[in-house]
């Protein structure tokens, strides 16, 4: 699936995101151009980007900065990350 992201860097916020099927790459690209032209018409230029992944969850993981605050980015994550590593790891308090 494709995801068209419109992110406002000035306020650090995701303005919108639209999802398109894998077969709709052309539609996603036209929508991006339309969005850029609409912003251009009113003198605005935001971060408009198209990402593609197997599902939305992957995009939210590999491009977390669009969806999470820094506090959320830095939340404890290592237990999940090391779930497949050797040894039996019990949760640790942070």
């Amino acid at each position: 699936m494709y995801m068209l992201i419109d992110y406002d860097q000035k306020i650090g916020k995701l303005i919108s995101h639209q999802v398109f099927a894998d077969s709709e790459r052309g539609v996603a690209e036209r929508t991006r151009l339309d969005l850029e032209l609409a912003q251009h018409a009113v003198g605005v230029m935001r971060e408009v980007v198209i990402l593609r992944a197997v599902d939305e969850a992957q995009i939210r993981r590999t491009h977390r900065r669009y969806f999470q605050t820094l506090d959320e980015l830095l939340a404890p994550y290592t237990l999940k990350r090391h779930a497949s590593t050797p040894g039996k790891i019990e949760p640790i308090s942070v």
């Binding site: 650090g12 992944a53 506090d71 404890p76 090391h82 050797p86 039996k88």
Partner: protein, 245 residues
């Protein structure tokens, strides 16, 4: 179907973008140019799927804003030479996998170039990039470990919310210092983690409690890294930097 742009047209478009006030026609031309990377990116992603079960996240094209910022920052760079218009990202759990996939990609696409940014970081950014040349286009494959990705996401987040220059060594000095410290700490930690991983794998007969203890120390070091940068972020918030929400 739109007519492909010549290199000369692409570079003239780049010069107009560099001026910072693109016309609607320029945006339409840039869209055509970016779309021309689709076959090359598809070929690279198909290649990646033959060497790993990890699905990459594709960025079909760099945003207009990022292209303009890069053209302005690197005043001699031509748009036709920009190597990260299209790309994809693979996050892996350790540096062994990172190196292995980079080497496999070069075997698969011999006209590729490896940029090892782990040894010589760019303003603290560490990763391996493989710039693949195929279908007369360049596609940048970013290979990051989870910790390298965490650093990059933090830097991107600060760049998005405070100052885009942070990604390139600029912006508030305190933020730069914190990111550099964080990067160096990860750079020191990752080889230690790999050593522990190897030791655990090579000594399967070790009792569980020993394995647990060794691995727990790795996790605790990572948590300390995370906590350190989070503390800085909170302190910076108090100093009224505009960081995040």
């Amino acid at each position: 179907m739109s007519k492909p742009l010549t290199n000369s047209q692409i570079d003239k478009l780049g010069d107009r973008l560099r001026d910072g006030e693109p016309s609607a026609e320029d945006l339409a031309q840039l869209s055509i140019y970016r779309t021309s990377f689709a076959p090359a990116l598809a070929a690279v992603v198909a290649g990646i799927r033959t060497i790993t079960s990890i699905e990459p996240t594709e960025r079909a094209a760099k945003s207009t804003k990022s292209i303009i910022y890069k053209l302005q920052r690197l005043s001699t760079t031509q748009l036709s030479q920009m190597q990260d218009i299209a790309g994809c990202r693979l996050n892996v759990s350790n540096m062994f996998m990172q190196v292995a996939y980079a080497k496999k990609l070069v075997v698969l696409f011999p006209a590729s170039r490896i940029q090892d940014l782990r040894v010589q970081p760019h303003s603290g950014y560490r990763a391996i990039h493989v710039v693949v040349r195929t279908d007369q286009r360049r596609v940048e494959v970013q290979l990051r470990t989870d910790l390298q990705d965490l650093w990059a996401q933090c830097a991107e987040s600060w760049a998005l919310s405070v100052d885009p220059a942070i990604k390139y060594g600029g912006g508030p000095v305190a933020v730069q210092q914190a990111l550099m410290d964080f990067s160096r700490a990860i750079q020191e930690h990752e080889p230690q983690m790999e050593t522990e991983l190897l030791a655990c794998c090579e000594n399967p007969a070790l009792p569980d409690e020993v394995l647990d203890a060794r691995w727990r120390s790795v996790i605790e070091r990572e948590e300390k890294l995370r906590a350190t940068i989070l503390d800085f972020k909170r302190e910076a918030d108090l100093r009224q930097f505009r960081l995040g929400d």
